[in-house]
């Protein structure tokens, strides 16, 4: 008890002192706590120095998920253009430079062992795999930059070998590379990309938006060990792949036509040539061949002027193929018929303008069929002059001259059709046989298509459908059809064209087993440099088969072949392409009697 009291007294005496110390200690503690808490609040709550953000940034890895560019395929699904994975090898120079040696697992004598590899050895191994100079690689991986591309567009097997070297700081990133498995077959139509991303020519250019798709994004946290932190941020915006573009082309026919026109053009040293194959019933373009077509894998190999599609970009004076339009017009207007008789002098003069034929003849009695069958300018002017100037203009316009077809290729020419009141004294007659008016080959084919299809013009189609990544196919609707001439007129004009093959001058267009109708065209070609006069000729042949129910149109055009123009014929080329098409599409041989309209009037 006493002890207890004593202690109590002693305690009481010491109280002020202890309280003081206690308060002091407590306040120090509180102050420290405040400092620590304040700092904690600053760091965690307010993040004044941006530390948390910096740390998060350090862990966060945003990656762009590239959208796969859609393919371009032909009517049978043959791939004309698609994208494949290629790899870029990149380096984090700061990591690589400070790593003097590293360990990696290697199989030594059948056992897996950790082997220490020096940086120098790593660099020389990398150079070996990449096929680069060792010094170049060293230069590329040394420095402070955290991102630097060492090598580009590597095939997967090379990337695999690089990955197996396990060199610190060396990474690979997938990129997409455009590949054109069919090369120059339809190369001009397909087009190519600039820098591997943006379409620069052909369909790659015009369909860029559709093919491209929308890239996605992924944001995730990654630890120092290079593994994703499972509980961290992970945001995923999936990429939306581009749509595939399906064409109406048949790559086999396209190849055949390209080979045929290339041979013809080489043989006659022409400047260029084109072949169009078109389906009469649908307006689908089956082939559109060009000479010296570019290989989109390496478009720089051909001259810039050869990289387009001349079937649609090149407008030229079509020549005698236009006589079909004149004949259709006079028949439809009721001003003539295929057996109408014309007395044709050796040389025809009207309004002081003289017209001659490509062959000399005396005064002849011809039918309208004979005029076309022998491609007589004199007779065409005589028949066509029954139409007024406005009618001539309107009929050309009706047949689509001066109106560009829209098939989705860049720089589609619409040709030149000057208004009737601006025609000069000679032009008002020359337009009847295809001079003084210009059009692209596709426009000529479209005009013939309407005659082949019973007078109904269908707009040509090149893009058949768009195929979404999920496989749904979205057909491109056909543009509205247009009635140009009556069924009867179309039939009469078709008979005239067939008679040109059976009775007239175009016998070489005949194909065994099939009834063929055709028309040739030879026109003087104005000089490209704008100087007066003409520089060579444009020789063409357009025809359809089988005449009992026309299915296909083939047109062959050769620009400025060398040598005498009268010795040049596109007949064999037309024949081989047309018979190839007929066989490919299993068209049964013709039935019925071929039309044989008399060429001379009795």
């Amino acid at each position: 008890m006493i002890v207890a009291q004593g202690t109590g007294k002693a305690g009481r005496q010491k109280v002020p002192n202890a309280t003081k110390r206690l308060r002091l200690g407590l306040s120090i503690m509180l102050a420290l706590l405040l400092v620590v808490g304040g700092k904690l609040f600053l760091v965690q709550g307010l993040d004044v120095g941006g530390m948390a953000e910096a740390a998060l940034d350090n862990r966060l890895r945003p990656t762009v998920l590239p959208a796969e560019r859609g393919s371009i395929v032909d009517e049978n699904g043959t791939v004309l253009a698609n994208s494949v994975i290629r790899y870029n090898i990149t380096v984090d120079q700061s990591v690589n430079t400070k790593t003097e040696s590293f360990k990696r697992l290697e199989t030594v004598n059948g056992k897996e062992e950790l082997v220490t590899v020096s940086r120098d050895q790593g660099i020389s191994e990398l150079a070996d795999v990449l096929g680069m100079d060792s010094q170049d690689v060293r230069k590329a991986v040394t420095g402070e930059r955290t991102y630097y591309v060492v090598a580009k567009d590597l095939k997967p097997d090379v990337e695999d070998r690089v990955a197996n070297l396990q060199i610190p700081g060396i990474f690979s990133e997938g990129t997409s590379k455009r590949v054109y498995p069919n090369g120059s077959v339809a190369g001009g139509i397909v087009g190519f990309l600039e820098n591997g991303t943006t379409g620069q020519a052909g369909l790659e250019q015009t369909q860029d938006e559709i093919l491209r798709g929308t890239p996605g994004k992924r944001l995730f946290e990654i630890g120092a060990d290079g593994l994703r932190i499972p509980v961290g941020v992970d945001q995923l915006t999936p990429a939306q792949d581009g749509k595939d573009v399906k064409l109406t082309l048949n790559s086999d026919i396209q190849y055949f036509a390209q080979q045929a026109i290339q041979s013809q053009s080489d043989k006659l040293s022409a400047e260029w040539g084109v072949i169009i194959v078109s389906d009469v019933k649908t307006g689908n373009i089956i082939a559109m061949a060009d000479t010296n077509a570019p290989d989109p894998n390496d478009p720089g190999k051909v001259a810039a002027k050869d990289r387009g599609v001349r079937s649609v970009t090149a407008a030229y004076e079509p020549g005698s193929v236009e006589k079909m339009i004149t004949a259709s017009a006079v028949i439809e207007e009721g001003k003539s018929n295929p057996l109408d008789t014309f007395v044709i002098p050796p040389s025809y003069v009207v309004d002081g303008q003289q017209f001659d034929d490509s062959f000399s003849h005396g005064t002849e009695k011809r039918t309208l069929a004979g005029i076309l069958g022998w491609s007589m300018n004199t007779g065409t002017v005589m028949a066509g002059q029954r139409l007024t100037k406005e009618q001539r203009h309107d009929w050309l316009q009706k047949f689509g001259i001066g109106e560009a077809p829209d098939i989705g290729l860049p720089a589609e020419a619409k040709g030149i059709l000057t208004p009737a009141d601006q025609w000069d004294g000679r032009q008002e007659y020359t337009v009847l046989f295809g001079q003084g008016v210009s059009q692209s080959t596709l426009q000529t084919v479209r005009a013939y298509q309407s005659i082949a299809n019973g007078g109904v013009m269908l707009q040509p189609r090149l893009i058949d459908s768009y195929i979404s990544p999920d496989g749904t196919e979205e057909k491109v609707p056909a543009q509205p059809a247009r009635k140009i001439v009556s069924k009867e007129t179309a039939k009469q004009v078709r008979d005239i064209l067939e008679s040109a093959v059976t009775e007239g001058q175009i016998k070489e267009a005949a194909i065994d087993g099939y009834r063929v109708g055709a028309k040739t065209g030879t026109s003087q070609s104005p000089c490209d440099d704008g100087t007066a006069g003409f520089c060579g000729y444009t020789a063409s042949m357009v025809g359809m088969a089988p005449m009992d129910d026309p299915r296909f149109i083939v047109e062959v055009v050769l620009q400025r072949p060398k040598g005498s123009i009268y010795g040049i014929t596109n007949g064999p080329v037309f024949r081989s392409v047309m018979s190839q098409v007929l066989r490919t599409y299993n068209v049964p041989p013709s039935t019925g009697e071929p039309a044989r309209l008399p060429q001379y009037a009795k």
């Binding site: 069919n182 499972p230 045929a260 080489d266 018979s579």
Partner: protein
């Protein structure tokens, strides 16, 4: 404040105070059972046990998550490898299927394109057209160069390599495909050179007389 502080600070003082109060009004003593003392040990064990279990659980969870992560990485790389392989093979097939490569392969095997075809109509039993046998050694005409897909050029030898007249061409040291290609581009520039090549390509055909078009 001071008494309270002292009470807390010094135990003897506190005890004395406690002892003082019963003297004033004595409360009956009762036995206080010290149950908690006995129960404390199992409770601590339980706590530690739970701690251990929780730690184990976290560990197991962590291990499984990272194992799954490793597995994911492994499967991803497997998927990538397969995709790569698939693409490589698809590309090879596409390259073989390219019409110009197919044509080159066919002519290499000695195949010739037929020219004249006949048709037999089974319903009417008529034969139309005159089929002609293909002639061996017929020139196929111009050669469309093989697609220049990087890394695939060597799959099919280009047709031009089998052309016996190829050797006549001067300074033909590059790859056949390249030489053909460069020939084509040269042609666009120089018509004279084109005529020369045309003569080679169209065996038997007399080339059209060379003439320079005015304005060229």
């Amino acid at each position: 404040m001071s008494t309270a502080a002292v009470k807390n600070l010094t135990l003897p003082a506190g005890r004395r105070v406690q002892e003082e109060s019963p003297r004033k009004a004595r409360t009956p003593l009762s036995l206080v059972r010290s149950m908690p003392k006995k129960r404390r040990a199992p409770f601590v064990v339980l706590c530690f046990g739970m701690l251990a279990v929780a730690l184990m659980a976290v560990l197991v969870l962590n291990i499984s998550v990272s194992t799954a992560q490793y597995q994911l990485v492994k499967l991803r790389s497997e998927q990538t490898a397969l995709t790569k392989q698939n693409q490589d093979l698809t590309q090879q097939v596409q390259n073989f299927e390219a019409p110009q490569n197919l044509a080159a392969k066919a002519s290499e095997l000695g195949m010739v394109a037929s020219t004249g075809k006949g048709q037999i109509d089974l319903s009417t039993l008529t034969v139309s057209g005159k089929a002609k046998p293909a002639v061996k050694g017929d020139t196929a005409g111009a050669v469309i160069a093989a697609p220049a897909v990087p890394g695939q050029l060597n799959v099919v030898p280009p047709a031009s390599s089998s052309d016996p007249l190829e050797s006549r061409k001067p300074a033909d040291t590059g790859k056949p495909a390249d030489s053909k290609k460069s020939g084509d581009s040269k042609k666009a520039k120089a018509p004279a050179a084109a005529a020369k090549q045309a003569a080679v390509l169209n065996g038997g055909t007399i080339p059209a007389p060379e003439q320079k078009a005015p304005g060229q």
